[in-house]
Symmetry: C2
Subunit: 157 residues, 2 copies
DNA sequence: GTGACTGCAAATGGTTTGCACAAAA
DNA sequence: TTTTGTGCAAACCATTTGCAGTCAC
């Protein structure tokens, strides 16, 4: 099954409607799966295919997608919320590399924390349902070439 | 050397002054090392010992402490920035457990990621300077007793 | 006196909300 | 026709900034 009909089912299951606006927004997210778009960025992109769309609808739709565990709301410290599509099983199984030279944000599509989560359960009596792992640093290639920083880094973590 | 004179030296090294306001703020942070205070919380607490203090000064001081790597600015998704004292070596060596039942935020004062950082370097050519690891879930004790959720959880990660 | 620092109030900017209208069930 | 969703504008609220006054060297 393709992703959009999969998502359509999730909407239906909770008695939500997949309106044209919502579908347009979901499509933008699917088309930019690699990125971590902000609300404003989604808004700009959707405007191309749906010029009449209101900003509030983007906010409300992304919140809804969050509730349905289709996307994940994250904050990388640049002052705006960013949204990340979850996998097909709606799990959270990736980590981030954030380069402080070029500003790139790469995903590691793998779960390296299985063992550590067992350790948390064992040593702290804490049952993990979700996690977040970001690495901040620099790519070796960036360090060598000294490529320019793309955007201001408010350095929040 | 105690912490406050240590911090005092860091200020002096960068030609910053440790004013009474700044010292009062730092003391609040030291007194509440376990917590992750928001600006508003720091403001309220400092008001007890320094009633005349302005909110903007708290913002400016915390930003300064961030720049000196004395504290770390973090965002746990509740809409406000929170600040965490770094260790004496000003490294970032701890992880977080966030309970979605009781809202507690516990620190794991240990660095479990040494091996993974080597792996990132090896497999991605990425040199890690800092990281962030949060686990979200529930304490076994919370699950059993069903203790009440302390605060609204905007579920941002 | 010059430069760093503070307090206050105003401005900023991302996000939320109230409400009237539109579409769907 | 009752419910759900949308667009617009206003409200909200954490944070930042401009500025005049204060303090330290």
């Amino acid at each position: 099954m393709d992703q959009i009909s999969n998502i359509s089912q999730l909407f239906a299951a909770q008695k939500y409607k997949l309106t044209p606006q919502r579908e347009a927004i979901v499509n933008i997210l699917l088309d930019n799966e690699k990125d971590h778009l902000s609300v404003e960025e989604v808004y700009m992109l959707v405007k191309n295919s749906y010029p009449h769309l209101g900003l509030a609808t983007v906010y409300r739709t992304l919140e809804l997608l969050c509730e349905l565990h289709i996307v994940e709301k994250m904050n990388f410290g640049d002052g705006v919320a960013r949204y990340d599509l979850r996998g097909n099983d709606h799990s959270h199984m990736h980590h981030h590399l954030i380069c402080s030279v070029c500003g790139r944000l790469e995903e590691i599509k793998d779960d390296w924390l299985v063992e550590l989560e067992k350790r948390v359960e064992r040593e702290y009596g804490f049952n993990v349902t979700d996690h977040r792992l970001d690495f901040k640093g620099t790519y070796d290639t960036c360090k060598r070439t000294g490529c320019k920083k793309e955007k201001a880094n408010k350095a929040v973590s």
